[in-house]
């Protein structure tokens, strides 16, 4: 058994002149304090996407932590959900007791996000990187076109997700975009890559976060209720979108089945869902892959603002990558919000009686997925 004992975000939005390491350090400090722990208690470090080629090494040096378990696995934005599963396994194996997962990025203030770079393209990308397909939105648009073709999914159904998610953001003081939007607003926003509009796309913000996972022994006397990891799964099916086996089936079909199977719960048992919403299509594909609805049914499933506050399927209750924050690798925030929901501390956006939550990360271009089932 292992439990999430502390979670924290760093400053979000535009944080200049703060650095990515500073964001991680501040979030780590706060998450550990919430768990009643210090840097000296940490014996496992897991990180991705921060400064340098080996993020867990960088954060270890910065915080003065010498771990006995280290993991810089990077499979894109899902990495931190992968890390949660790895931390669980390492704790189960007796390799460590207190695992710290961190992330930080200043992509907004650094203006480091680009749609693609020119010049020579090497390696396996030499066949995709030469066509002017904007990254990462272009590959997601290809999946959206295919889903529309196979199942009749509409732009209005995609827009439902953006509108519902913004309603949740309006309840979250930390959210970057809080003004209400309508389906018409989404459809009238400019095209980025058809069929995706500007408001089908996640934000570009700064931000960071930290999650502390501890053994059952350590979880006995925490300041806050432990949130147990009941199941986890991970997989990836491709790197480039040309190699995706099926454009409408994400690897969450694999990670989700493993996570649910291990937890002994079904999608019907889940009270609150936090999915990586890089784009509205990501959400529809993930809902189907995880089995919350059938193949091709996600468009109808999210219609009528079903995932909004007051709807019968509360999803992305922090406002998601679409409206709350998206520093480039959003996965860690699915864990943070799911934990807060299960502790019952989400204030105006609290899902009443939430006992089981799912956090699902997606990485690359629908390339990797990681699912964690959490319970009180």
């Amino acid at each position: 058994m292992a439990a999430i004992a502390g979670v924290a975000e760093s400053d979000l939005g535009e944080v200049a002149p703060k650095t990515a390491m500073q964001l991680q350090a501040e979030a780590a400090r706060e998450a550990l304090a919430e768990a009643g722990l210090t840097f000296a208690d940490v014996d496992a470090l897991l990180s991705a996407g921060g400064d340098g080629y080996a993020p867990s090494m960088a954060i270890g040096e910065y915080l003065g932590i010498t771990p006995r378990y280290t993991d810089s696995t990077n499979v894109g934005g899902s990495s931190f959900v992968v890390h949660a599963g790895h931390a669980y396994r390492a704790i189960q194996a007796g390799l460590c007791e207190v695992a710290l997962i961190t992330y930080g990025s200043t992509q907004r203030s650094a203006a480091s996000r680009t749609l693609g770079r020119g010049g020579g393209v090497r390696g396996t990308y030499q066949f995709e990187g030469v066509w002017g397909l904007p990254a990462p939105v272009g590959p997601y648009a290809l999946a959206a076109t295919r889903h529309m073709h196979e199942y009749g999914t509409t732009a209005e159904q995609l827009a439902e997700v953006a509108v519902a998610t913004r309603k949740w953001a309006s309840l979250n003081p930390k959210a970057f975009m809080r003004d209400p939007i309508t389906i018409q607003d989404v459809l009238a926003s400019r095209w980025i890559a058809q069929p995706l509009h500007l408001l089908d796309c996640c934000l570009v913000t700064d931000g960071g976060g930290a999650v502390v996972i501890v053994s059952a022994e350590r979880a006995r006397d925490l300041p806050r209720p432990p949130v147990w990891i009941l199941g986890h799964g991970e997989s990836h099916t491709h790197l480039g979108i040309s190699s995706m086996p099926d454009l409408t089936t994400t690897p969450a079909a694999l990670s989700g089945a493993r996570a649910f199977g291990m937890a002994g719960v079904t999608p019907a048992d889940v009270d609150v869902v936090e999915l990586y919403d890089s784009f509205t299509i990501t959400v529809l594909l993930t809902l189907e892959a995880l089995g919350f609805c059938g193949r091709g049914e996600a468009g109808a499933f999210v219609s009528g603002q079903r995932t909004a506050p007051g709807g019968d399927f509360p999803m992305n209750t922090n406002g998601g990558g679409l409206s709350y924050c998206h520093p480039g690798m959003y996965g860690i925030f699915t864990l943070i919000e799911a934990t807060r929901q299960l502790r019952g501390e989400s204030g105006p956006r609290q899902v009443e009686g939430a006992r089981v939550a799912v956090a699902n990360g997606t990485g690359g271009v629908l390339s990797s997925a990681a699912t964690v089932v959490l319970g009180q």
Partner: protein, 129 residues
């Protein structure tokens, strides 16, 4: 000012790009299992065979999916809107490309297309057939 993206061939992929330079679409076929392989690889992902031969593709395919790009990477901005597609070749492999000789509004999933090697850098574009 960056320069427009261009492929950098390596030891495994050079026959593909040499073919494109000659106006021929060549892909690999595995001598072990007989399946066509794209992108080019040193080892067959289907059967682990290391002996792959180069064969000329028919150049015929169908559009599996596409997107009309409006917000382009820096070096492509004066070309929007344009269509980037995934094309399934008759040989059973999938390839990213750009569609030419067709208006974006005229593109559909399932549309038959054929290779049209052109441009600078020289690349295997596709057009309706």
């Amino acid at each position: 000012m960056s320069e427009r993206a261009f492929p950098v061939p390596d030891a495994v992929t050079r026959p593909f790009w040499d073919g494109v330079a000659e106006g021929v679409l060549r892909i690999q076929r595995c001598r072990g299992c007989g399946r066509h392989v794209f992108y080019p690889r040193a080892v067959c992902p289907f059967c682990m065979e290391a002996d792959l031969e180069w064969v000329e593709a028919s150049g015929a395919g169908v559009v599996h999916s596409f997107t009309v790009v409006h917000r382009a990477p820096p070096d492509y901005r004066d070309e929007v809107p344009y269509v980037v597609a995934l094309v399934d070749l008759a040989e059973g492999v999938r390839m990213m490309t750009r569609l030419v000789d067709v208006a974006p509004a005229g593109v559909t999933v399932g549309m038959p297309v054929e290779v049209a090697i052109q441009g600078e850098p020289r690349l295997p574009y596709f057009r309706p057939r």
